[in-house]
Structure formats: structure tokens, C-alpha cells
Amino acid sequence: MTIEPVAEDLLRELAPQVLGVLVRRYGQFEEAEDAVQEAVLAAAVQWPAEGVPANPRGWLVTVAARRLIDEFRSDRARRDREADAALREPEPDVPDTDDTLVLLFLCCHPALTPVSQTVLTLRAVGGLTTAEIAHAFLVPENTMAVRISRAKQRIKAAGARFAMPAPEELRERLDVVLHVLYLIFNEGYTASSGPELHRADLAHEAIRLMRMVHRQLPGDGEAAGLLALMLLTDARRAARVGPAGELVPLAEQDRSRWDARFVAEGTALVEAAMATAPLGPYQLQAAIAATHADAARAEDTNWRQVHLLYRILERIAPNPMVTLNRAVALAELEGPRAGLTLLSTLDDDDRINGHHRLPAVRAHLLEQAGEVEAALENYRNAARRTLSLTERRYLESRAARLIGRSG
């Protein structure tokens, strides 16, 4: 079934708002979610044929509420709850967008695993169908349906309420929301860069939801920082894959193919956030991406600034992956030996010493230092460890370039 694009966008914008109204009114998240999906399907069939109603949101609320009440009635065991729901005064309609944010907090409830938070967010807030989510994660639709339904049950079991988190836990809960949107973005950015960019493109979905969060919490520096990071990263999308689907590393990307609008928007966002809000990891990562974007050619990169930003990031959010990236910047500033010395501090760190990125970075620096033999060994070691086919091809091609120069 093809839906008019306008109606489709509208439906995805309205679905979480309608769900918010229903959950607020009847309190049954799981059943309400099913009812909204049915109402959205009904709209997808009727609107293109009969035209979009004057009040599309009201239309959806009415249809979904009717389905929900039918559902309550059809189940005799639920009589009590029906009476309860009927007795409850409908709450006055609060501003729509608030509900979408509340819904996002509910879907990213700490009682859920990250995978559950992710799929529930895509379904209930993103308005994607089960089939689309299954397609995006490359699993059968049945598997995804079970996952979504389990996530909904767990929300219920955890006694999660449809309300904004209390002020004292807002920061922590918001961090979970940001992390989930970051995961969705990465899933899309790393998995769907092939030719089939379609409506379920997760990176764009994450940006859309992140824009909504930022609109609602404009003063939050980390929300602004994550949105900026997504925009600055997504700006490189066209340049990061070569004609044969091979990976193009940052230094070799054709920067004229970076999306200038996303770069400008992301840069402005992160600059404003860093000037006004408390510093955080997303802002720093966005600032690093903005520094790269600021250089017309790779050799124009302000490595001093990149290195400084990684240093601050290392201090406020210590993580071996950050140290690894700082080693790259340090090597650009002071030469490959300095980078290699910093890398050697990570050898005993269990969080990273099985990871392919450590030998991959070491291989690059050894290559720069002219140690061909050792570089080759590290490229091959990294190629064996990575779980990414594209990355394995890239590392193997780097190794192949060195064969013949060794020995």
C-alpha cells in the first residue's frame, strides 16, 4: 500500500501524540498502542481516498479511543477496568508535543533493556510499523513482534507511569533517552548506507526525534550537542562510501560532498550550546566533528583543537575509546611515535584490548612510522577481529598495499 507522502509524514507526527492522549486518558499503554496502530492503518487507507479530515488528530483520537473501548468491552474479564475508564473524567487536552516527550520517557524506561527501549521508541514514538522495524534490524517480523510485545509488557510490569520524570531524576532519565536515540542513529548510520535508503532509515528517524527533544528542551546542552553530533556525522554520509561500497576513511573523503546545510546547522547548534550550557560528552564529540568539518581539506585540520577537545572529553567521561582517538590526534600533532606511546597505555585495559580498533589504529601509526612489517601484522590482526564486513575489506586492502613493501 502506498500512502501519500504528506499523509504519511502527518501520520507519523500525530501517532505518538494520539497515543499520549489515550494513555493519559485510559492508562493502558499496551492496549492503547495497539489501538493507535489500528487507527493509523485506517487513516492510511481512508485519507488518500477521502481526503485528510479537517482535524486529523481529533479523527485519530476518536477512532483509536473507539477501538480501545471495543477492546475493553470484548473482554469480559476487563469489565471492572472498563467501568473505571468510563468513570474517569477525560483529561483536558494538554499541548500535543509535551505528550510525545512524555511518551519517549516511557519507552526509554530504565526497566527495559537497550534493545527493548530502541524498538519501543521506534514503534510508539517513531510511528514505524513492526515490519519496518524488523527490516531495519534484519530480523523476521515475528521476532520483532514478540520483542515489541514483551517490551510493552515489561513497561506494565514495572508499573511505569505516563508522566514526566520528577525534576531530581530528569537528568538521568534524559541521558537514557539520548543514549537510545544515539543507538538508533548509529544503527542507521552504520547499517543502512547502501543504495536502499528508504522511509525506515533509522539515522533520519533518530534526527527527527532528536529535533523534537531539542525543541522541547532547548536549554539542555547535551540534547543540543547530540542533535549537532548527529547532523555533523550524517553530513558525511555520501562521502564515506566509495563507488564499490568500500569504506572511505575521514582523511580521504571528498569534503565537497559533505552536506553543507547539516554542517552549518550542527556547528551553530554546538557553538550555542557550549557557550550557554554545562559541558557534556555529546557537545564535545559534536565540537570535534565540527572542527573536522571546518577544514576544507584533511591537511587543514586543526589537530591542536581536536586533541584538546579529546583531552577534555577524556577527563569528564574517561573511556579507552576516547584515549584511542586522542592518540590519532596526538600523532598528527607530534608524530606517530607519540601516538604509539599513548596507545601502549591501553594494552592492559580489558575494556578495549580485544577490540579491533586498537590494532587498526596502531597499524596506521606504525605505517606512518615506516614500520611496514609490524603495521602489516596489526592490519591483519584487526581484520580478523572486526565484525564488520566493510571494515574487514578496508583493513585487508590497507594490508595488501603494504605487501611487497615489507621485508
Binding site: T113, P114, V115, F137, L138, V139, P140, T143, M144, V146, R147, R150, T190, A191, S192, S193, G194, R240, L247, V248, P249, L250, A251, N325, V328, A360, V361, H364, T386, L387, S388, L389, T390, E391, R392, Y394
Partner: protein
Amino acid sequence: MKFLLNLHMNPAVWDSLTEDERNEVMTGHGAFMETVTKSGEMITTQGLADPSQSAVVRVRGGQPVVTDGPYLEAKEYLGGFYLIDCESRDRALELAAMIPDAKVEGLGVEVRPVMFADGQPEM
């Protein structure tokens, strides 16, 4: 994360089991399938026919050459697999331990990560 749980079969071990022990393994697979299906982690599962039914195809000089029999002569062979998608490697190991073959002396379940198509290019 996707993992292939390989069930390596050793006919000598299998033949040494009693009827009851074999039945226990079979029923155990039913229970395992139900568990991973209900948890939303199952992608697919298949049991494979005996390697004597295999054929190996090689193209030499543009012509396919077909040899009957297994690819490798070995006392163990791939008997079947589960393809699962779960939160972490730890969870995959936990699931593998629930497969009845893992409890049989002389057998084990091999947990192999599945590669994904693309990756982070940043470097």
C-alpha cells in the same frame, strides 16, 4: 547482535547415548525453541541431513565438477544450527548453555558472531 549457534554432531557420541538420553536431547530442543521464540531472539533454525547425503561442487575450467560426500572427512560434522539475535555475547553464551547438546559429554555448542554489512569508518 546476531550469532550462529552451531551444533556439531559426533555420531560415535550420539550412538553411545541411551534411548532416554537421546529423547531428552530432542525434547530439550523443543523447549529451547520455545524459549528463544518467546523471548524474541530466534531468527531461524535448521537441522542438516547426514553428511553422506552431501555433494561438493567445484568449477574447474568453467565446468562444474560434483563430488558426492562431505567437504571434509572428519569424525564431527555440522548437524544443525540456530541463528539468534540477542543483546550481547554474554546472552548468546547463556543461550548456548541451554541447548541440550551442550550438556552431552563429548559434544559442545559453538557460538559464532555474525558479521554485519557496514561499519564505522572513522579513523
